[in-house]
């Protein structure tokens, strides 16, 4: 990947960049601190674990939708693909969980590459439509191959995560151990994502979003950057899906559905697109609200629909975007 003039000038500004370094990672550290306290902030640990996993998935989606400006309506295929891959590796091949998780992430990457290769050839609304069509293909493919996926009933019998080393024994039968085990993996993935935004790739991506023609004129290989971004998003979404399979012990067919693709868009919008903290806040608030409302009423979908419409109409910066705006007294221009 070529480096653009922008990144060269950034290297020229090395001393000040070093001064900023602690501040740079503040949002990552703040996010991780918040996530590490989650089990004590929500009613039960299983919900906390779901929030954690969806925080990763929403962050991975935000890379494409928020930072990349590509409205994908098929991200469930990446999450569900990773979930099924890990589930099949664990159930049918009896692989240890570390390898299964890795396999899920790699399959997510693979699906991401296929999606990127096919869908990025068209633009705008056609891009959204083709991602939707491809995700539907994945859904019905899983539905029809029931001997591998369990079809409509989902894939059952994913074993719990277990660590059985000499100096450390953990079993995910204990919800809190499971939470922190998954937390370590998610923290690593979020750290990677945060670092990625400071690389030339991340900078090129925000250049493209702000002004595609100018980025292209500066020598940014627009298509390559987008493809690579989509692929990385696939890797992280696949990992999130794989963790989800281990978290609930089954892989429901819904992990590939249009509804899930819609939900992750909602989470990112709710939290604030193109911010690092936004998707995490969005995932936590969305799942928390869903949990609360579904206890109170059978019609939480209506509430979430109304909320979603209000967000789009009046508050398109989302929760974190709004917080940033208030904090800075000016509109928050998304920084990498």
């Amino acid at each position: 990947m070529q480096t653009s003039t922008l990144t060269r000038s950034h290297h020229g500004a090395r001393p000040s960049a070093r001064l900023q370094r602690p501040k740079r990672w503040l949002d990552l550290l703040g996010t991780l601190a918040f996530l590490s306290l989650l089990p004590w902030l929500v009613p039960h640990q299983s919900l906390a674990t779901s929030m954690l996993i969806f925080a990763l998935f929403a962050s991975a989606y935000n890379l494409v939708f928020g930072y990349g400006g590509m409205l994908s309506l098929g991200h469930a295929a990446l999450f569900g693909g990773g979930a099924y891959a890990a589930g099949i590796a664990a159930v049918h091949a009896q692989l240890p969980w570390g390898l299964s998780l890795l396999f899920g992430a790699v399959v997510g990457l693979g699906i991401g590459v296929i999606f990127a290769f096919l869908s990025l050839r068209v633009r705008g609304i056609y891009f959204a439509m083709i991602t939707l069509a491809l995700a539907q293909c994945a859904y019905f493919f899983a539905y029809r191959n029931a001997n591998w996926t369990g079809g409509d009933n989902g894939l059952r019998g994913v074993p719990p995560l277990q660590i059985d080393w000499e100096f450390l024994q953990l079993s995910s039968a204990d919800p809190l151990s499971k939470y922190y085990l998954i937390f370590i993996i998610v923290a690593g993935a979020l750290g990677l994502l945060r670092a990625l935004l400071y690389t030339p790739l991340g900078r090129s991506l925000s250049m493209i979003r702000q002004n595609e023609q100018r980025a292209a004129a500066c020598g940014v290989p627009v298509l390559r950057v987008r493809q690579l971004t989509f692929a990385i998003s696939g890797l992280l979404s696949g990992l999130a899906g794989a963790l989800y399979a281990y978290h609930i012990g089954t892989v429901p067919l819904e992990t590939l559905s249009v509804h899930l693709s819609g939900q992750v868009v909602m989470m990112v919008l709710l939290g604030g697109m193109a911010t690092f903290v936004g998707p995490v806040v969005g995932a936590v608030v969305f799942l928390g609200a869903e949990n609360l409302l579904s206890d109170l009423t059978d019609y939480w979908q209506m509430i979430s629909g109304i909320l979603f419409m209000l967000l789009v109409l009046f508050f398109s910066k989302g929760i974190w975007g709004g917080v940033q705006t208030i904090g800075q007294g000016r509109p928050a221009e998304p920084k990498p």
């Binding site: 050839r121 056609y126 439509m129 069509a133 249009v258 979603f308 419409m309 109409l313």
Partner: protein
Amino acid sequence: MQWTIDLIFQQAAAGLALGSIYVLLAVGLTLIFGLLNVVNFSHGAFYMLGAYLGFVTLEYTQSFTAAIVVAALGGAAIGGLFERFLIRRLYGKGIDYPLLLTFGAAYVIVDAVRMIFGREGVHVDTPDALSEVIDLGFGLLPGYRLFLIGLCLGLVLLLWLLLERTRWGLIIRAGAQDGTIIRILGIDISRVWLMAFSLGSGLAALSGILAAPMRGVHPDMGSAILVDAFVVTVVGGMGSLSGAVLAGLLIGMVVSFVTLLAPEFQELSIYVLMTLMLLARPQGLLGRRGALG
């Protein structure tokens, strides 16, 4: 499997009947996209709404004709309000926002129907006058299917006349080409938008009640067919009316014959078709950029 003339004919008739439903849905979608540049994710919810409006009308009047009229007008009225008070706020904000708004609206409409009518579906009978089987000499054809295909073609013809032969149609076609010029010529374009959205929603609601005797009525019927309607619209060409008609009938046939020949590919077939179409010809069969052709 025995290939007989009768079997092929039966499948073709079933395909055309399904295709007719697709055509009515896709024409609405394409009209809304061509004029308003809105990808309407609440279209399936309007389809479902039409089926329930028709169901309620049938309960009260026992007349299928009344059910059709109420569904179409009710859908158009609700669609008009929706455009006027919600979507209109988002014009010029990029294509993603209206899409996401209609996505949220679909959730609200579906859950509202669940609240009123329950999660289980309701039943709509085929009207007595149309439940007979008609013998065409070389094959038997259920009367309702024949009625559906005829009604769909009639409506498409009416719509074509409206667009090609009336002043209002001229304004719509011009609006799809270039909205700014329309404004400069002193025409209130916001009224055109309202009309287009109402018309599209009305057609969706109409196809909902028409599909009800064949496919049943339940709150989730819209989300299932919405993606199919998108496939038809994209294959025909977003914004192309003739493309929507052609693609609707074509895809209805494809679904019908794939179901017969290779049922395991029944759902996959149309998405594969759409993907191939988008890669080979993103503008669709008859699509031109931003014109209602």
